[in-house]
């Protein structure tokens, strides 16, 4: 049955994809999407500017040293990062830019608070693991014959490029939302019976809240 919520979020169950290591701490949302790109572009167009200050040189040409500009990692859908990725300004467009580039999952030791909320709201899976677990995955992405890896949200495991299984933990409600492709609005609408029941009780206790017909003449 199709939920009443519409489907704004792609489901996330299992993902087999190329990974890219970007082991620089404190990559902020200004670096993920520069503020000048927020005017005049649609959400799905922002992928061209994701991580722009790293991907491109001042003259607009590609920076060949940047990990996403190497043929091995160019098609990455999984990003492996260092501490505090997504810190800084609260812009939701940072998540849109990463997703428009193609990312579905980011693995790192920690993420900015607001960035975390925005990511799960938009179907971008963030996996938190200790730095000493993240580092070997990043090393394998750089050294294994193929930088392909897997993320299984049903089993809560990562398969590293070397074929190791790494378990992770995630908030139960966020996991369910991703598995079912529901954002918070959709998750809350599953509780609509609770909301309606609350309003019925509240309407009896505080009827004036719900009576919003104005007096005919405006008050001075």
């Amino acid at each position: 049955m199709r939920a009443r919520s519409g489907d704004t979020m792609e489901k996330f169950t299992q993902l087999g994809a190329i990974g890219a290591p970007l082991m620089k701490p404190n990559i902020d949302t200004d670096a993920i999407i520069p503020v000048k790109r927020l005017i005049g572009y649609q959400r799905h167009e922002l992928g061209a500017f994701a991580l722009e200050p790293y991907r491109f040189r001042a003259d607009g040409s590609e920076n060949p040293d940047f990990v996403l500009n190497r043929s091995r990692h160019r098609a990455a859908k999984i990003l492996v990062t260092a501490e505090n990725f997504g810190c800084g300004s609260s812009r939701e467009s940072a998540v849109w830019a990463l997703m428009a580039y193609g990312f579905r999952c980011i693995i790192g030791p920690g993420f900015g608070d607001i960035f975390t909320n925005n990511a799960f709201q938009n179907g971008l899976l963030l996996i938190r693991l200790p730095r000493d677990v993240v580092d070997p995955i990043a090393d394998e992405l750089a050294s294994a014959p193929s930088p392909a890896m897997g993320v299984d949200l049903e089993a809560c495991t990562i398969t590293t490029p070397a074929g190791r299984k790494v378990a992770f933990e995630i908030d139960a409600e966020r996991r369910q939302a991703l598995l079912e492709g529901r954002d918070e609005i959709a998750m809350t609408l599953l509780r609509d019976a609770d909301i309606t029941a609350f309003q019925q009780r509240d309407r009896a206790a505080r009827p004036w809240i719900y009576e919003t017909t104005p007096r005919l003449s405006p008050a001075a």
Binding site: D202, R206, W208, I209
Partner: protein, 471 residues
């Protein structure tokens, strides 16, 4: 003494009465009583909801008004700023399609969203009120639990009439003492920010209490709560009392007749119980507060008008010292100098902090029969259309116009920087707004926050002046 287990704060009572469900991770699903929308994002968010095939859960509980992007020129139209034509059209069309009340330009509902909420009686004690603007804490002056939200949360409220929220800690700020002549609610809250700092309220819901608060009018309480976000707190509240009930009686969207009496009976149960515990308490001695004026680029950079600009060299904390040096360089001020007498180019009276009728009256009393200094451009931007009309009925527009002020239409104007009303680079303003941040009133504009009477005094003197000496 151990507080009885049932002793609860105002905040706790309002929060608990709105919990629809407890979710995982310490998050509560809170029912929202009033959702206020402004022009910057309303149209786009309504469109997002419509695109997913959703409808507003309770359109009768959402109210929209254009304020941020609108021009304040007396001859303004919907299209008189580059942004506003599209924003207002999309907002109006979306509101009409969704059955949301929209207070259009030139009607007695239009104005700054945080001014019209209380003025129309939409904001009431014990309510949860949200709006996509950080100064939504203003409505706490009515005894409401009111806070700013982001764009994604606006969509969530529209679709579900709820929000997912983590409960903040509680803080009480006791404002005790008697207010000296020439000192206003703005001075009290600025002095409070100066004493405890812009980070003090982070993660807390603040309740302002004490003898000075009990003596305040609603307009004054709204001014105090408005600056809660400049203490770092999303929420600032004041317990409702007879002052609140008298203010609300007869307003356009307030309960009427028997329903009003029933509401008052409920509201009387909201104030914090004796013995209720707060996570943090501060006490401010109001007797000692003089008229305030900011010298730097944060609301905590504030001194009494007869004080001297602080010297970064005396600051021990190196981070604070370099912030002070940067602020003084931006503001073009010298450490150790008197702030009084600093020449100004602009005076702005308005905003959700100080754009209410009582603010305009207080400024008019200072201005009456005098002239704006020749070096100063001075504006009054009433906080709402109703405020403007009421002021004009009292002849206050004439008082300001005769003195050389401009008398404009209501909106966020020089407080928002998104509607064309800005100050030229390097120019200095005394402003009744809430943020003296770098670039807030225009690139390289220098803002001194102060009360309406202080702003009026500065306009007449052409320099930062002590309103108490003009009276």
């Amino acid at each position: 003494m151990v507080a009885p287990a049932q002793s609860r704060t105002l905040f706790d009572k309002v929060w608990a009465s709105h919990v629809v469900a407890e979710l995982s991770g310490g998050v509560s699903l809170l029912a929202i009583d009033r959702h206020l929308m402004h022009d910057l994002e309303a149209g786009a968010i309504i469109q997002r909801i419509a695109d997913r095939g959703l409808k507003p859960h309770n359109p009768e509980l959402t109210f929209g008004v254009p304020d941020h992007a609108v021009a304040t020129d007396p001859r303004r139209r919907a299209n008189s700023t580059p942004n506003s034509e599209r924003l207002l059209r999309e907002m109006k069309e979306g509101s009409d399609a969704f059955g949301i009340t929209y207070f259009d330009l030139d009607t007695e509902g239009q104005g700054i969203v945080h001014v019209i909420g209380p003025e129309l009686g939409l904001s009431q004690p014990g309510m949860t009120i949200v709006c996509a603007d950080s100064h939504t804490c203003t409505h706490g002056g009515m005894g409401a639990l009111s806070f700013g939200i982001g764009a994604t949360e606006v969509a969530h409220v529209l679709a579900t009439q709820t929000l997912r929220q983590t409960k903040p800690k509680t803080m009480r700020i006791n404002l005790d003492g008697k207010v000296a002549p020439g000192v206003t609610a703005k001075d009290i809250i600025l002095a409070t920010i100066g004493q405890i700092g812009t980070g003090a309220g982070r993660g807390h819901a603040i309740e302002y209490a004490g003898s000075a608060v009990a003596a305040m009018t609603i307009d004054e309480r709204l001014t105090v709560c408005n600056l809660s976000i400049e203490l770092g707190a999303k929420i600032g509240m004041i317990a409702p009392d007879d002052t609140t009930f008298e203010y609300l009686a007869g307003r356009r969207y307030a309960p009427q007749g028997d329903m009003f009496d029933r509401a008052v009976a409920y509201w009387r149960g909201l104030p914090t119980d004796e013995g209720a515990r707060f996570d943090v308490e501060h006490t401010i001695d109001v007797n000692r507060i003089a008229p305030q004026v900011t010298w730097g680029t944060s609301p905590q950079d504030v001194i009494a008008v007869d004080g001297r600009i602080p010297d970064p060299a005396r600051e021990i904390d190196p981070q604070r010292r370099s912030a002070m040096e940067a602020a003084l360089a931006y503001m073009g001020l010298a450490p150790g100098a008197a702030i009084e007498g600093t020449p100004v180019d602009w005076v702005f009276i308005g905003s959700c902090t100080n754009g209410r009728l009582s603010d305009i009256r207080a400024a008019a009393r200072v201005v009456a029969g005098r002239k704006v200094a020749p070096n100063v451009r001075a504006w009054v931007v009433p906080g709402s259309e109703a405020t403007q009309r009421a002021a004009e009925r009292e002849g206050l527009d004439k008082v300001f116009l005769d003195a050389g002020f401009e008398w404009r239409k209501s909106g966020c104007s020089m407080c928002a920087g998104v509607n064309g009303d800005i100050i030229a680079p390097g120019q200095r303003s005394v402003s009744t707004t809430n943020r003296n941040f770098v670039g807030r009133q225009g690139p390289n504009a220098r803002t001194h926050l102060a009360s309406p009477v202080m702003a009026a005094a500065a306009a007449l003197a052409g320099r930062i002046a002590d309103a108490r000496k003009i009276g």
